[in-house]
C-alpha cells in the first residue's frame, strides 16, 4: 500500500492539483479576515450612493465574528472546488485502464481503495485546517478570537461535513464510470439532504447542520446540539466507505 500511497502523492504534486488547492485554501484563509477588515472602507465608499437611494448607514463594527462569518460562507465553496478536482479519483483510472496492471501485479483492491481514501481525507484535513489556521491567526492579530465560543469545535463540525461529502464522492467515483456521474451523484445527495434538513426535526440531526458553525461561535447553540448530526455524519461516511470497498471488489476494471 505504501507504493500506491507514494504514487497518489506524486500524482497530486506533479499534476499541479496540490498547488492549485493550496493556493485556493490559502486564498480563502486570507480572504475571510481581509473582507472583514475591508468592510468599513467599502461601506465608506458606498455611503454616498446608498444615501442617494434613501439608505442611511450607521457605523459598521467589525470584529472576529465578521471574519468567522466569512469563513463559514467560503468553506463550502472551497469544498466544492476540492470535490471537483478529485471527482475523477477512480473514474479516470477506469477510463485509462491504469489500475489493471496494478491489480494484476497483486495489489489488492481494498488496499488501493484505502490508499486513495487516506490521501484524499489527509489532503482535505491539511488544507481545511490550513485555511482555518490562517483565518484564526489573522483574527488574533486584528481582533480578539475570545469573543467566538467553541471556534475549534465549529471548525471540526465543518471539517466533518467535508469528510461526509468526500465519502459519498468516493462511493460514486468507485461505482460510476465518468466524473460527471460522480459530481451529479454527490451533488444530488447533498442537495437531497439539504432539502430534508429544511424540516426542523430532521434539520437538527442531518449532516447539513454541521455547516452552521456560526450558531456555535455566537453562543446560540451548544456542542450537544451537534452531537446527533456528528454521529449521523460519521455513521453515513463509514457506511459509504464500506460500500465503496465492496463495490470496488466487484468492479469490472
Amino acid at each position: 500500500m505504501r507504493a500506491f500511497l507514494k504514487k497518489e502523492w506524486m500524482e497530486l504534486v506533479r499534476t499541479g492539483r496540490l498547488l492549485l488547492l493550496l493556493l485556493i485554501f490559502i486564498l480563502f484563509g486570507i480572504m475571510n479576515p481581509a473582507i472583514a477588515k475591508l468592510t468599513p472602507w467599502m461601506m465608506e465608499i458606498m455611503v454616498e450612493q446608498l444615501a442617494e437611494s434613501g439608505l442611511a448607514l450607521t457605523a459598521v463594527t467589525v470584529d472576529a465574528m465578521t471574519s468567522w462569518t466569512q469563513f463559514y460562507k467560503n468553506i463550502p465553496m472551497a469544498l466544492g472546488v476540492f470535490v471537483l478536482l478529485h471527482s475523477g479519483i477512480f473514474t479516470t483510472e477506469y477510463q485509462k485502464g491504469t489500475l489493471i496492471p496494478v491489480v494484476t501485479k497483486g495489489l489488492s483492491r481494498p488496499r488501493i481503495a484505502a490508499a486513495k481514501t487516506i490521501l484524499l481525507l489527509g489532503t482535505w484535513t491539511v488544507l481545511f485546517f490550513l485555511c482555518y489556521g490562517i483565518t484564526y491567526g489573522y483574527n488574533a492579530v486584528f481582533w480578539d478570537n475570545g469573543i467566538a465560543r467553541f471556534p475549534l469545535l465549529g471548525a471540526v463540525c465543518c471539517w466533518l461535513f467535508g469528510v461526509w461529502v468526500l465519502a459519498w464522492m468516493l462511493l460514486f467515483s468507485i461505482a460510476a464510470d465518468t466524473s460527471t456521474q460522480v459530481l451529479l451523484g454527490t451533488g444530488g445527495v447533498v442537495l437531497g439532504i439539504y432539502v430534508l434538513s429544511l424540516f426542523p426535526k430532521l434539520g437538527n440531526v442531518l449532516p447539513v447542520k454541521l455547516l452552521d458553525g456560526m450558531s456555535l461561535l455566537s453562543g446560540n447553540a451548544f456542542p450537544k446540539d451537534y452531537y446527533a448530526s456528528m454521529g449521523i455524519a460519521c455513521a453515513m461516511a463509514a457506511v459509504c466507505l464500506l460500500l465503496a470497498v465492496s463495490c470496488f471488489n466487484r468492479k469490472n476494471l
Binding site: A3, K6, K7, G97, T98, P101, K105
Partner: protein, 298 residues
C-alpha cells in the same frame, strides 16, 4: 508441463455467450498464438485468466494453480501487456518500473537492477522524460518491460502489435522472441503474419469456440494441399512447358501450378528433355490467412 490450461470455460455477458466451452493448454516456454477476429472473445479469455472476470463454468489453471476471480494469487506468475497499455503519465519509465517492482514486493536493490535490465531490453534506457510525451510504440515497449518486471512464468499479451507501424511491430516481436527463453508467452492477435513469425503453437478462436489448435506444422497439415508451384527462368520456357503439359495452370509470366502431384515425374521429365531452365519447384504451403478465412467461413 503446461503453464496454462483452460478446461471447458464458458462466459456469458447478458444474452451473449462470448466463450462457449473453450479448452486449450499452453506448454511451458513456447510462444502461443491466440488467434481470432475482433470480438471473438480473446480479451475476455485473457481477463478470465487474470482473474479480472469470473468464469460462468469451467476451470483455468496457471502453473498448476487454479485461477480465482478477484485477488487471485496466480497473478504472481503472470505478466500482462494490454492492447493499449496506459501508464501514469507524470512518471518517468524508471519511476513506473520502480512502482511496479514495489507493488509486487521486490526488494529495492533488485527492483533497481531489474528495471535497468528491462529498460535496456526494450531500448528505453536513455529515456529520462516523463511518459506523457511517449509515442505509441514507446508505450508498447514500456508495457513489455512492466509486464516482465516480476520475472513472470507466463506473459500474456493482448494484441500487442495491432496499433504499431511495421518497425514498431518488428521491435516488439523481437522482444517477445527474446523473452521466450525464460517465459511462456500467450499472444493474442488477428495479424497472422505475426503468428507465423514467432509462434510455436496456436489456437483459432471463432464464435466463442476453439475452431483449430496445434503447432504451426500440425495446423498447416490439416489443409496441406498437394499442389506444386514451378517457377521458370523465362516466360518462353513456361509457355513451352504449358504446351507439353496442358494439365499445368499458368499463374504468371513464368509461374506455373501443378494441381495433381502424380504428374510431377512427367513434368520433370519434359523439363529435362526440352532443357528448360527452372528456378524453383515448391510444394505449396497453405497460408495461415487461408486457414483463418476457412475457419471463419469466408
Amino acid at each position: 508441463m503446461d503453464m496454462l490450461t483452460l478446461s471447458h470455460v464458458k462466459k456469458r455477458f447478458w444474452e451473449k455467450e462470448v466463450l462457449q466451452d473453450v479448452s486449450f493448454s499452453v506448454p511451458e516456454n513456447t510462444v502461443f498464438g491466440f488467434v481470432g477476429q475482433n470480438g471473438a472473445g480473446k480479451t475476455t479469455a485473457m481477463k478470465l485468466i487474470l482473474g479480472l472476470l469470473s468464469c460462468d463454468e469451467g476451470r483455468i489453471t496457471v502453473n498448476g494453480s487454479a485461477v480465482r476471480y478477484g485477488n487471485t494469487h496466480t497473478n504472481r506468475f503472470i505478466g500482462y501487456l494490454p492492447d493499449v497499455p496506459e501508464f501514469y503519465s507524470y512518471m518517468t519509465p524508471a519511476e513506473y518500473l520502480a512502482f511496479c517492482g514495489e507493488i509486487t514486493g521486490m526488494p529495492k536493490p533488485e527492483t533497481k537492477k531489474r528495471a535497468a535490465e528491462l529498460l535496456a531490453l526494450v531500448g528505453l534506457e536513455q529515456e529520462r522524460r516523463r511518459i506523457k510525451g511517449f509515442s505509441r510504440g514507446m508505450k508498447q515497449r514500456l508495457g513489455v518491460a512492466q509486464a516482465l518486471m516480476n520475472r513472470p512464468r507466463l506473459l500474456i499479451c493482448d494484441e500487442p502489435t495491432s496499433a504499431l507501424d511495421p518497425a514498431g511491430r518488428k521491435e516488439l516481436l523481437d522482444i517477445l522472441v527474446a523473452v521466450k527463453k525464460e517465459t511462456t508467452v500467450l499472444f493474442s492477435t488477428h495479424i497472422l503474419s505475426d503468428v507465423e513469425h514467432i509462434c510455436d503453437e496456436l489456437a483459432f478462436l471463432h464464435e466463442g469456440r476453439i475452431a483449430l489448435k496445434g503447432t504451426l506444422e500440425e495446423v498447416r497439415k490439416i489443409r496441406r494441399t498437394a499442389a506444386v508451384e514451378l517457377e521458370m527462368e523465362h516466360a518462353r520456357d513456361a509457355g513451352l512447358l504449358l504446351r507439353e503439359c496442358p494439365f499445368l495452370q499458368r499463374l504468371g509470366h513464368n509461374l506455373l501450378l501443378l494441381r495433381e502431384p502424380e504428374h510431377l515425374p512427367e513434368v520433370l521429365g519434359r523439363i529435362a528433355e526440352k532443357r528448360l531452365s527452372v528456378l524453383r519447384v515448391e510444394r505449396m504451403e497453405p497460408a495461415l490467412e487461408d486457414l483463418f478465412m476457412e475457419v471463419i467461413g469466408k
